[in-house]
Amino acid sequence: MSKHPPVVDWATDFDHRDPRWVENPYPIWDELRGRCPVAHSDRFQDGAYFPSRYAEVREIAYDSEHFSSRRVIVRETKVPPQPAPPITSDPPEHTPARKLLLPAFAPQVIAKLEPRTRALCRELLDAIGDAGTCDGAVDYAQHIPVRLIAHMLGVPEKDGDLFRRWIHLVLEVGISDESVILPTLKEMSVYFATELKRRGAKRGEDLISFLLDAKMDGQPVPEIHMIGTLRLLLIAGIDTTWSGIGASLWHLATHPEDRRRLAADATLMPTAIEEFLRAYAPVTMAREVVKETTVGGCPFKENGQVLLSFPAANRDPAMFADADKVLIDRAENRHAAFGLGRHRCLGSNLARLEMTVAIEEWLARFPEFRLADGAKVTWSEGTVRGPRRLPLALG
């Protein structure tokens, strides 16, 4: 683990942990798109690349021949690949690992979770009550995906603090301090091995039971595969959506005209949610260069890490008119918040449901809100971007 000095030149020495990037990365990406569309940094083992334009992000996302998914987080020091299929899978293993899960996340299946999602949002809003102030991230956004994924996995909601600790260690601390990763993944594996044993004795209506009875290429799913997949479902399903909901609330708290418009006109909700997904896309993925190649005129050397920023692609003016403006009625919005190509976010239908219901219920209860006076909003660092402290004044 090392300290990371402030960045002087983003093109040759970028660092997504720099406080300026964490606070407001958009001007940095705009600058890079203009002068160096593929930035580089030696702060990460074997070097890291950062494409900031939509075209290169798309090309890399589609190219599994040169860019492997075996490492999906850019880290200062690499750890041996830790399979969490299908997100870490390349062809040909990727297709069966993904097909195994797709039916459980299809839109018609996820839609059945709407009443439960609505009920849990209302419970959280009831708890905030008429306090007049709350933290939109801590008291609201963070709980919604935890409770829903716990329900889907059939694990206790009260383990939410444990889940959030694991995620913080793997996705934030672990970028700079690789020593926390393996022990954390071990802890998660032990947790899920215990749950698998429990379901082995008695099945439930949950994803763990589903995996135990599922077939992959006609065969039962090996336990190590199930454990990797369960680690993925937990990690990928929580702080991503928490960030999406939090960033949407942040936007509405800081843009009263959009807040009033959306509160008054529910038909704007679908385009507003897609625009929040575009403009504040939470998830940055990674690839590892497995065969030297050139993209966007820039050489990518073998073993290099690639910070695959769908959020930066979503802000590219070559792809989106008024890319830097948040337009809640944007009708044409081919954004890449859920990735592009074979690794399209498996949980995208779930994330959209959670974001939509969370914002609808919030606005129904608190149509008037803003940042609290003197509020210090903090944003997460690294792989997933969203507000972690969001003090709000209500009413």
């Binding site: 299809a106 839109p107 859920f338 190509g341 995208s348």
Partner: protein, 71 residues
């Protein structure tokens, strides 16, 4: 040959990755299969009044998998 110039949508199943944008924007024209990937409803013919929705489905597909054309 009265069927010429019938406006139809179609989904390129090689490109579709199940973003579900077309199904949300134009549920009259698209639906999800059991894996969550999109397919056209019926023969894909775009009924009068649905042209704008069909165009939106095309314009919002992140994978460029939705096509609209005269057949």
């Amino acid at each position: 040959m009265g069927t010429l110039n019938v406006l139809r949508v179609r989904v390129d199943s090689e490109r579709c990755q199940g973003h579900n944008r077309c199904c949300s924007l134009a549920p009259e024209l698209f639906e999800a299969d059991e894996l969550g990937n999109a397919r056209v409803k019926g023969d894909g013919k775009v009924a009068a009044g649905l042209e704008a929705k069909a165009k939106l489905a095309v314009a919002n597909c992140p994978e460029h998998a939705v096509r609209l054309g005269n057949e």
